[in-house]
Every structure is written in structure tokens, then in C-alpha cells.
Subunit: 107 residues, 2 copies
DNA sequence: CCCTTATTTCAATAACTTTGGAAATATCGC
DNA sequence: GCGATATTTCCAAAGTTATTGAAATAAGGG
């Protein structure tokens, strides 16, 4: 690690008020990312490698898509040991865009 | 007009069964196109030039975005005189993805 | 500490998207 | 047909996004 920055790594998430509908739609408008959201829709968090394997992509590709989902405010990422636990930000999304997630994950 | 193809010009629209959610989301994930959909959400059709002017873009740019909306199955385009009348495909969208349009145009 | 495991970042590349001026096409009314 | 009006298509430039191997970083456990 680079000299000096010894604080525990914090993963940045946008606050709920900052969520932008066009950004969310653009982010979900990719089959891989939409599939990730559908998998997470059951409320159970998954770890990054689990999702990459499920989608059949290298972890570097998975990590890229998970970063976009997190930056758009769609998912939340928590450090747990050497893994990251990914979950849907369902309450924030439901509060900000009622009905959207339901419409996307229905059936 | 090119020699021989004298039939009345028909504008292609995808059938309702062919609508794809990821394609629709990708298409709406552009601020200009999302704005067009919000304008059309009142159910009143608009002509192309009206929309381009409203958005402050050249008609060639407007025409490009309207083509993407039409090809994604989000809007319907009808020839009316020298103009094209653009409207939302609300019934098809509501039937195929219940709640989606409502969630996008609420407020 | 060092090793292992999980994940991210980097860098290069390829593929796709957006923009807008100019030219082409379509339709109408005369 | 012709001219006017509305829109689309073409094209090239610019911008953005996706993909992935390799290197870097992080955390945990001996």
C-alpha cells in the first residue's frame, strides 16, 4: 500500500437524494447489469465472485459492472472479510422512484 | 425518389411482443430521450420539429433520438401530411411492463 | 510477516453512441 | 410538375463504454 494512507478503506456510495433517474436507467440498460439486479431482487446479498461466476465473466469485468451499479446508487457494497457483499438499495430506490424496481423485477 | 419503389412509405415499428426491457432502459437512459417521453406522457402527440425545438437541438439530432425511441418500441410515429406525429405507446408498454411508465413519469 | 483468497485498478483496445451540417426524400397545395 | 415545408439519411468527427489480462491492493489467518 502507498505510504501514509493507512485508514480503513471506505467504499463511496451516493446519498439517496443524489440518485438520478436517467443515470439509473442508463446503468440498468445493460443485460449483464439488469441480470445482476434481478438476482439481487430476492434481498439476499451476494459476493462479487459469486455474481461474476453466475454471469460467466472474468472478475475484472464483473467488478467494473458492479462499480457502475454502486455509483448509480442501485447497489450497496460492504466489506466482509476479504469479500465484498453486494445488495440492492431497495429502500432508497423505492422511496425515490416508487414502483420502478417492482416494474423491473416483476416475473 | 429512387426509381421503382413507388409504394407509400411505411415506418417500421417493433411488435409489442418484441419489446425488450434492457433495450427500453438503455434507450430511456439518456436525458434528452427521457425528457421526450415525459413530454409525451400527457398523451398528446407532437410533431418532430416541435420536440426538437423544445429540446434545443437541430432537427437531425432530434430525428436520431426519435428513431431510437421508435425502434425500442417506446414511441409510435405516424405520417400526417409533411409532418410525423409522435406518440407514446402507452398501452403496449403498460401491457408488457406494468408500472414502468408510471414510475418513470410520476411527478 | 508471509501466504492465501477476494477484489480492484490499470492500460490497451475494440466497439458503440452522439452530434450536426449538408444532401436527399417525402408530402402537400397549387 | 414545382415550390415550400418537414423530416430523414449520410457522413465524419468526437466522445463514451465495455472487455480483459496483468499488476496492485486489501484482509484474514497462521
Amino acid at each position: 500500500m502507498a505510504d501514509g494512507a493507512e485508514l480503513r478503506e471506505r467504499i463511496p456510495h451516493p446519498p439517496a437524494e443524489a440518485l438520478d433517474l436517467a443515470t439509473i436507467l442508463r446503468t440498468l440498460g445493460d443485460p449483464l447489469r439488469l441480470e445482476i439486479v434481478r438476482v439481487l431482487a430476492d434481498g439476499r446479498p451476494r459476493i462479487c465472485g459469486e455474481l461474476a461466476e453466475l454471469l460467466g465473466v472474468p472478475t475484472s469485468t464483473g467488478s467494473y459492472h458492479l462499480r457502475l451499479l454502486r455509483e448509480a446508487g442501485i447497489t450497496r457494497t460492504r466489506v466482509r472479510g476479504t469479500s465484498r457483499e453486494i445488495s440492492l438499495r431497495r429502500d432508497d430506490l423505492d422511496a425515490r422512484f416508487p414502483g420502478l424496481l417492482d416494474a423491473l423485477t416483476r416475473s
